[in-house]
Symmetry: C3
């Protein structure tokens, strides 16, 4: 089974596809608060899934990290409005610092083609 | 390849099945200490795997988070007694805060059907 | 679809193979600084992938944890020199404490056979 990689840089690929499963790199977003960052982050997920040939209705699993768990409700409000309500993924969310202190949220997802 | 989702809410599905792989949402447990919480958490994993049509002998990978790494031995004691000794999954365990401060441990697993 | 497990202990398997996908347990490395630990850790990944019948050119996704995000550049320098530049995996990296305070970095990867 072949592997397809897209947006590959020196460190990682943003998209890897193998055996009908799409693996995205961790996505962050720009914005002054976690709601804005979540909106921007999930727009990146949408864009990358589209490039891979799929969409959020086929999400399998998501790992979410928030820099401050006190802000999870604001992140979840954007998340809940974003997901396909008929097709939510498995998800876990824990607290962690991201690569840059400005980032308040990050997500890594897998989706079916 | 079709996707099956079970226990789907507004935010996530507890079970997603695709191409012979079962993805569970992050599971936590109730209890006064990490041993009790781990027991309760792994009972939820057992129950969800059964609903998906599989069991812990087919676990592929597990990501474990503990709120306080000083308690990992207590978690591991319950974990070691729980896994099928002939069929342990790949596993990683790091320290992280969970969605509520009361939660001392969380696990996200994938299993084969 | 059968499951193959290698280096299985009382707690986890270092290698699990199912349906053309290899799941490795979280790998750490020995060494006085994060660069040395990353080199040792990635040597373990190479060795385990070889035992599973694959190699780093078939990596699908990697989750990296660093104990101190201030050291990510040193980790990335080793990572960037290690990966197959034509075939980088999807990756996310967050900050977390590992099982022992001496460990500065850990990685959990999946690869195609």
């Amino acid at each position: 089974m072949s592997i397809t990689r897209m947006h590959s840089g020196a460190r990682m690929s943003q998209i890897v596809v193998h055996n009908g499963v799409v693996y995205l790199a961790g996505q962050v977003g720009e914005g002054d608060d976690i709601a804005a960052q979540t909106t921007d982050m999930l727009a990146s997920v949408d864009r990358l899934l589209a490039e891979a040939g799929t969409d959020k209705s086929k999400l399998l699993a998501a790992t979410v990290w928030v820099a401050d768990m006190a802000e999870i409700a604001e992140m979840n409000a954007v998340w809940d409005a974003w997901i396909d309500p008929a097709n939510p993924p498995a998800r876990a969310c824990t607290e962690a610092a991201m690569v840059l202190p400005k980032f308040k949220v990050e997500v890594m997802v897998t989706a079916a083609l």
